[in-house]
């Protein structure tokens, strides 16, 4: 097998997720993404299983691998015990490690996720907390959320939380030693390395697109480009 297939086989999720796909298409039938996007997990299994390096490289460069919503309904239904959702995770990992993710609109969005959820994990110890769900970036959250956001300590603490304070409870400030250890885990296990690659390749593509890029934060043109751009060419 070729370069990409060998990389896939180093990931235990690929070994677990793809045994022998018979291309029955049950995964596509049950898949919420296939109903909405130009997406067909059966075809993805077929391409990956073929080992065709050219086709795999093309796949890693397109929007296709970024359409899956990771609901894992495919795992529940595959008669062969395969998990296309796990295969997708491996394809996305390799796409990011090789920089191919910047070739597609949906792939470039990884930058926006890294700058929001990714930074939040290291800075606060939460993937998501109230502060990150700014009503300006989340109009769909509605006026009750805006009210809560503007009165978060008063409201959350009435409901038994311990917002941004020391001690136990919901929304507490997580002690620094824990954040230090989590960051060290990211360093030792390749988490920081993946963050760096997302940053490095995003900066290169931002320059090539002549879009303003800042080395941190979300107040820059490239962040909003990746967060909001929708060419409208994805729907089924």
């Amino acid at each position: 097998m070729g370069k990409f297939y060998d990389l896939f086989m180093q990931d235990v999720r690929f070994v677990e997720g793809l045994n022998a796909c018979m291309n029955c298409g049950v995964c596509t039938a049950i898949c919420p993404a296939a109903e909405i996007y130009k997406y067909d997990p059966r075809q993805i299994c077929d391409i990956v299983q073929s080992g065709n390096e050219e086709k795999i490289q093309e796949l890693l460069s397109t929007d296709t691998i970024w359409y899956c919503g990771q609901c894992m309904s495919c795992k529940a239904r595959c008669p062969r015990g395969n998990t296309p959702g796990l295969i997708i995770s491996v394809l996305r990992k390799i796409s990011q490690e090789t920089g191919l993710f910047t070739n597609s609109e949906k792939g470039r969005q990884q930058f926006a996720i890294k700058r929001t959820v990714g930074e939040n994990i290291l800075n606060t110890g939460y993937c998501i907390n109230i502060d990150i769900v700014n009503p300006k970036l989340h109009p769909e959250q509605g006026p009750v959320w805006k009210w809560y956001y503007e009165n978060k300590e008063e409201v959350a603490d009435r409901l038994g939380a311990n917002y941004n304070k020391e001690g136990s409870g919901a929304l507490r400030k997580i002690p620094q030693q824990n954040l230090d250890e989590v960051k060290k885990i990211f360093e030792v296990t390749g988490g920081l390395d993946l963050y760096d690659k997302i940053e490095k390749y995003s900066e290169i593509v931002a320059k090539s697109m002549n879009i303003n890029f800042e080395i941190e934060g979300i107040n820059n043109e490239y962040f909003f480009h990746t967060y909001m751009e929708n060419s409208g060419k994805h729907d089924n």
Partner: protein, 358 residues
């Protein structure tokens, strides 16, 4: 025949621990429904008399980052190992995640370690190298909803209210939604399996309600991780939820209950979004269908104050449901904060009818 049936159903029943728990809070539940986590702890400690650890040192499992592919699996496995190490510090070994994504993550990691021992050894080394810590795999991993399910009969005895319409005497008609990662990832780790998830059905039927079966009952709520986190993708998320609403509408649900905090939030917020975008609601009064967490459902029936449970944080207003059950509430207390001060009311939506702002 009876023996065969018993044996057959055994596959769909899981072991749920009964005491000495470590509670792993959920990023989404504690942010959007902090009152639900407080209610869960109150139920376990004050009503059921259980020992449950609420550790200030705990942190994210990385689940949302992992499923949106910015966090590698080695990192997630080692962060999970650190959380198990924190549990070890407290001398308990029954693990309760509040989040359904986390429930999936913890099971995925443990299953990986079981099937690929070299991954287990690698994680041990990573954790030692990064933190100097050791860990043990929990004896039991049950979702927080599993615990409420297990004790549903005991809780019923303490409940002054039932899921019954006080005006008609008929059971309330309830849509139950199971988070995908509760039962679709590892069916045998869930109560009832993927085909017959029983965890919420058991609570609803025990407490007097009637469960609605509808075509898209097991369809994803539409979260989709990166499909919601990035604004450009949110059409995926709302379209999936809309599909569920259209499928359940003919059955006229009184309310929806979910065991996943994300699903609860999305089914609440997307009703607001669809109402504002298209003027469409899925009830007869333009107010939407109330969506509860299972802790809120249990707390209400146990007589907790709705505004201490956090029901004012739902965009779809819950008062019509409280009126149907006959639960008293003080409208003046709804928007009062911890200090006891009135905080003002939220703005009024254009289309979705609300109790406030009249």
């Amino acid at each position: 025949m009876e023996e065969f049936t018993k044996k057959y159903w055994k596959d769909y029943q899981k072991e749920i621990a009964d005491d000495n728990f470590y509670y792993e809070r959920s990023c989404i539940r504690q942010s959007f429904f902090p009152g639900s986590e407080a209610a869960f702890l109150k139920i376990l400690r004050d009503i059921l008399g259980k020992n449950i650890i609420d550790d200030p040192n705990q942190h994210t499992c990385t689940g949302i980052g992992y499923h949106s592919d910015i966090v590698p699996f080695d990192t997630t496995m080692t962060v999970v190992a650190r959380i198990f190490s924190l549990m070890k510090d407290h001398g308990v070994n029954n693990f309760i995640p509040s989040c359904v994504t986390s429930f999936g993550i913890f099971n995925e990691v443990v299953e990986t370690w079981n099937h690929f021992p070299e991954e287990y050894e690698k994680t041990k080394l990573f954790l030692k190298q990064a933190t100097g810590r050791d860990f043990e795999i929990p004896q039991n991993i049950s979702h927080a909803s599993d615990i409420i399910y297990k004790y549903r009969k005991e809780l019923k005895e303490k409940m002054p209210y039932r899921l019954v319409n006080r005006n008609t005497g008929k059971p309330l008609r309830v849509v139950e939604h199971i988070g995908c990662h509760y039962s679709k990832l590892f069916a045998k780790k869930s109560e009832g399996g993927m085909e017959f998830p029983k965890v919420l059905v058991g609570m609803i039927e025990e407490w007097g309600g009637e469960v609605i079966d509808y075509p898209e009952r097991r369809h994803c709520c539409g979260f989709g991780f990166r499909q919601y986190l990035v604004m450009a993708n949110r059409g995926y998320s709302v379209a999936n939820t809309k599909k569920k609403f259209e499928s359940m509408q003919p059955y006229k649900p009184d309310f929806i209950v979910a065991n996943c905090p994300g699903c609860t939030m999305f089914m609440d917020r997307w009703q607001y979004t669809i109402a504002e975008m298209e003027g469409k609601t899925y009830d007869d009064n333009k107010m939407g269908i109330p969506v509860l967490t299972y802790e809120e459902m249990a707390g209400l029936l146990l007589g907790f104050n709705p505004w201490d449970l956090g029901l004012q944080l739902h965009q779809v207003q819950v008062e019509p449901l409280l009126d149907k059950i006959g639960i008293p509430y003080d409208p003046k207390d709804k928007y009062v904060g911890k200090s006891g001060n009135f905080l003002g009311e939220p703005e009024k939506p254009e289309n979705l009818v609300t109790v406030y702002g009249k």
